[in-house]
Homo-oligomer: 358 residues x 2
């Protein structure tokens, strides 16, 4: 453990839960917790565009740390975007107001593969590593810092579709008509992501989450062939046994048998699965992260508390649960509701850990 | 069986498969098969708007029958829209070009419940019953005619959101903050849908499919409380033992244990499940309909054939499979690809039924 992790007040609930060790209460954080629902985030965002924010280490660090103090989460997650990797590979990236990220020149066939260059993470993505270093210094061990990347399938989907899509026709056309070249693209992306997450760990990231946000557009065979093996390859490449690995494959709960081959430490669950049933199936092989429907944060705080209790009861009195939403927090959620959510987990979870001692 | 079903050339593959009886080959039809991918449909649509088409029995019947001759499907499904029921309940409905159906005054709280009136299906939706009668006469028993309705959860979602939605915040707010009044809305819709499907059967519909297109936005408890019981109530109300009942709850394959409580004869499956694994679990309790990814119809015909073979192999040599897409056919699919899909099922499936005799 390095110098920043040795203070007395270290909150290591998240880390212990990732390794299914006993905790006094269930740790909690929220995907996209450094985001627009926070007035303090909006104040920064008013002055800078999204790209400037994640490319300026001081700004990225500032918003990364906001929810630690304001919401009281048990882990920070770096403010960044999964598309920095394709951008570093040479793809021009725009963020359009109200529309999100767009690649104006998406990849359309294997001729485009030559447009992609290898990523030297410490150089090409230095702004991320600098942000990690600032965050670790500022956090001073209060809570751990989670690094992340997009999983290759999800990045390739963006690179081919160019933006969000309703039916994902372009990547599926490619998949059915020319699967070998799609594998070549996925291999290139995988190498880049491996470099990227290794550099994050070297810079100080204390856990790594892979976001496979578009796993759920696939069929089961497609997930087994085009998504899972590349995510697994990345997890295998992180040989630091002190860094828990989280796989969040949205919409993939239906393929739990495949998720269990991912070689992650933690499976992130969206809200469509019953976390208790998943726990019965994965037993001691994985910790589980999730799984409150992010839309339920629009409900009155007393309803939020009921939903929290329901998930705690479903999971039961066992180790290995990191409370989270089943997807990112939505921009219009009242900040008091986010606070009520985190507070509910803190207040309701200790009785499920009554037999635990630190 | 009435007079139209007694001709010599009757194709009853679909019907037999629904009841898991032996067939010589797997029957096949496509959700949204009367649709824009067909040049003959577009020719009609050029002259009339969408609402005029489904409200004019002769036009609705014309496009209903097109895919029977052009594509060679084993069942016709009435051309209509699930939103005719909320419209008949008193909600103003617009179809916006390029945007789809919109309720300009969506329901926002239980005060709006009083806006809804009971449906007299034979009067309020006479145009549907007339279209069914024309279709039956024109089909003359060549293939059966499927009637359909939206399931209450999906209709209520449209009525509350007013249109398609990304996060379905309005209905979920209502669900968490005021579940009792949401149940009152669902009860009203259920009564209307029951009247509607009973009238369809009386007019000549030979099977009924309930579309629960937005089941998948729910969590498991929500599906068990707000979607499943209302669909089941409708299935129970259809007491004609000669009318197979199909429940297509998109995105609900993850809750197979709940789907098995639906009391339908057939479970419609989207493309995210492996149909062979589902068959192992449902055994002889249900026939299964599906489950090719509709996007795979953009692939070259030889790839479509491979996908068809894969699903036939997954299902195996057993009775009770109706081949279909996992969701509606997309508007830009080349018509030759739709034909190749249906032809592949017809050519590849007989060897999986080698032991069957009529």
């Amino acid at each position: 453990m390095n110098e920043t992790g040795t203070t007395r007040n270290v909150n290591d609930l998240f880390r212990r839960a990732c390794y299914r060790q006993p905790v006094e209460r269930t740790p909690v954080w929220m995907m996209r917790q450094a985001g627009r629902y926070l007035p303090q985030y909006r104040a920064v965002r008013k002055k800078y565009d999204f790209i400037t924010m994640y490319k300026t280490p001081e700004l990225a660090a500032e918003v990364t740390l906001q929810p630690v103090d304001i919401i009281g989460v048990d882990a920070a997650i770096l403010f960044s975007d999964i598309l920095v990797v394709p951008e570093a590979m040479g793809m021009e990236l725009h963020f359009l107001e109200g529309k999100g990220p767009v690649f104006p020149q998406p990849m359309r066939d294997d001729g485009d593969l030559s447009r992609l260059r290898p990523v030297e993470a410490d150089l090409d993505l230095k702004f991320v590593m600098d942000a990690i270093r600032i965050c670790r210094r500022e956090l001073a061990g209060r809570v751990p810092l989670i690094g992340f990347a997009g999983a290759p399938w999800t990045l390739a989907t963006y690179m081919i579709e160019g933006q969000g899509s309703k039916n994902f026709i372009n990547i599926k056309k490619w998949r059915y008509a020319n699967p070998d070249s799609l594998h070549r693209l996925l291999e290139k992306v995988t190498v880049a992501v491996m470099e990227y997450v290794k550099a994050q760990v070297a810079a100080g990231a204390q856990a790594i989450q892979l976001f496979d946000s578009w796993a759920g557009i696939l069929d089961k065979d497609g997930f087994a062939e085009f998504a899972l093996p590349y995510a697994r390859q990345i997890f295998r490449s992180i040989d630091d046994a002190d860094v828990p690995l989280i796989y969040f494959a949205k919409g993939a709960g239906i393929w739990l048998d495949l998720l269990m081959q991912s070689e992650a430490d933690v499976l992130g669950l969206d809200w469509t699965v019953n976390i208790g049933e998943v726990r019965q199936k994965v037993k001691d092989q994985f910790a589980l992260q999730g799984n409150l429907d992010p839309v339920s944060l629009f409900a009155p705080p007393q309803n939020i508390r009921q939903q929290v209790i329901k998930i705690l009861e479903d999971f039961g009195a066992a180790n290995g649960h990191i409370f989270n939403l089943g997807h990112g927090i939505l921009p219009d959620v009242p900040v008091e509701h986010a606070q009520a959510f985190v507070q509910s987990v803190k207040e309701e979870s200790p009785r499920f850990h009554a037999g635990s001692k630190k």
